[in-house]
Amino acid sequence: MKIAGFFLLLAGWALVAATLALLGSAAARTGFVLAGIGVEIVGMILVARSHLPVREDRD
């Protein structure tokens, strides 16, 4: 889950960067930048969940 989360973080950023190079219209750029940030948020959720302490680690 952690690796998938970080992959999504990078994928979201790649989507944002690719949007700048590939799309010309302001509306399309805005939409894809927001979509990229959405992908990053999903990635953050996965990374955060993968770091929740498991019972065995606690005192």
Partner: protein, 440 residues
């Protein structure tokens, strides 16, 4: 290499030098806050670690950091993407060779940056308090000052691709951050988050059911004093940043300083009011953290907002810090004794976003661009912080942890970092020596 291409007047140059000399107060402030919010048995270790972090950051930045950050107009490595030039890393010589330290804008940028990287290096110490080994702090700081910080700072302040978004794609004036909400604060805050995850919570912080135990800071006076000192330092940081990175003039520093103070004050009051309403009494540590969060959020837009907007930025930052601290501790089980993630990462991201919402750029602003699309530039910057900087800083610290475990062993945590790593307590008078009470 004597000019950044955007020179400053002699008056602004002299004022800028004086303002930069205030930045160490922000470092002292953060060090005191981190120490006061930690346990008493790790207090000396915390201050020692702060000194070490600033020292390592300065030296590593001197050797390699600046060569990759550079400044706008200096030599860079460029990619051509869709026919547009993307500057992605500077190509200055190592050891700052070739620079002339003569009061030019480029030399002032170097001076400000060497303090700024030290400030960024102090931020993760708050999240790793009571369990982060001194050697690992030095190694992690070297990674931050040598790789993560210079790369992102180049993109924002060194003429990199984020700052070119306006010229290349018509997105406002490109990514704008006058005082370092992103390149100093969010970079430091995301490193703090990575380390809090890698180090895992302190023993005894969470029960078997996952409920957090309160581990209060040991000295509220140090924390409050740190807040006062940080405010002085932030006024210098934001004003110098406005002159060097937002092409401001000396007379603009009054507004920048006023905005900085108002944002911090309104954020502190907001945090105090929220904790008063929720818990019946204002919480000192959250009030201080809220105040610092306001300072952090003020940095990005400090040169481009009116005082009323700075108050609004501060109020939202204060509220964000208060709720983020609780959310991280209770929901995400992130043990962050100093509140570094909420204060620097969360507030910093809000500060960056605020540029796109409340900033007004002066007519004839000297950077190429337009008034439309600024908020999209800011969003792209935030996406880069979350999608590139966080994986990078986590990956570097994860690798470091594989070769050099960053967390202290069980005995060290029980004994306290002072005794375990330094061999002496910060407050030796507090120690009860049993043998002193044995009748002879």
């Amino acid at each position: 290499m004597t000019s950044s291409g955007a020179g400053v007047s002699e008056t602004a140059s002299a004022l800028c030098f004086a303002l930069i000399l205030l930045v160490p107060f922000a470092m002292a402030g953060l060090a005191l806050i981190n120490t006061g919010l930690g346990r008493s048995r790790s207090a000396a270790h915390s201050m020692m670690a702060s000194l070490m972090a600033v020292a390592i950051a300065a030296l590593v930045y001197f050797v390699i950091g600046f060569s990759w950050q550079g400044f706008a107009g200096g030599p860079v490595h460029t990619l051509s993407v869709g026919g547009k030039p993307w500057n992605w890393i500077a190509a200055e010589p190592f050891f700052m060779r070739g620079l002339q330290f003569d009061g030019s804008s480029s030399s002032l940028i170097v001076l400000l940056q060497i303090f700024s990287v030290g400030l960024a290096a102090l931020i993760p110490l708050g999240a790793g308090a009571d369990r982060w080994r001194l050697g690992a702090i030095c190694a992690s700081t070297a990674l931050l000052a040598g790789l993560t910080y210079p790369l992102f700072a180049n993109w924002v302040w060194g003429g990199g691709w984020l700052s070119q978004l306006g010229a290349n794609y018509g997105l406002g004036y490109g990514f704008v951050d006058a005082g370092g909400s992103s390149s100093i604060q969010v970079v430091g805050g995301l490193t703090a988050l990575s380390l809090a995850w890698i180090l895992a919570p302190r023993r005894g912080k969470y029960s078997a059911e996952g409920m957090p135990a309160a581990v209060p800071g040991h000295n509220a006076v140090l924390v409050a004093l740190g807040c006062f000192l940080a405010t002085v330092g932030w006024c210098g940081l934001n004003s110098a940043g406005a002159i060097l990175f937002a092409h401001g003039e000396a007379d603009g520093c009054v507004l920048v300083t006023l905005n900085t103070l108002l944002a911090g004050a309104s954020a502190g009051l907001t945090a105090a009011a929220i904790t008063q309403v929720r818990f019946g009494k204002p919480d000192a540590s959250l009030t201080v953290n809220g105040w610092i969060g306001g300072l952090v959020a003020s940095s990005a837009a400090c040169a481009f907002v009116k005082p009323a907007a700075a108050v609004l930025v501060g109020i939202i930052a204060g509220a964000l810090v208060t709720f983020a601290v609780e959310w991280l501790e209770f929901e995400l089980k992130v043990d962050d004794p100093g509140g570094a993630i909420s204060v620097h990462a969360v507030s910093g991201i809000w500060g960056v976003l605020a540029v796109g919402i409340v900033a007004h750029f002066p007519t004839g602003y000297s950077i190429a661009g337009s008034d439309s699309g600024q908020w999209l530039s800011q969003l792209i910057g935030i996406a880069t912080l979350m999608g590139f900087v966080l994986p990078m800083t986590y990956g570097l610290n994860w690798l470091l942890n594989r070769v050099y475990p960053q967390r202290v062993d069980i005995e060290g945590e029980r004994q306290g970092m002072d005794l375990h790593e330094l061999g002496a307590d910060a407050y030796p008078d507090f120690v009860t020596h049993a043998d002193e009470f044995i009748q002879r």
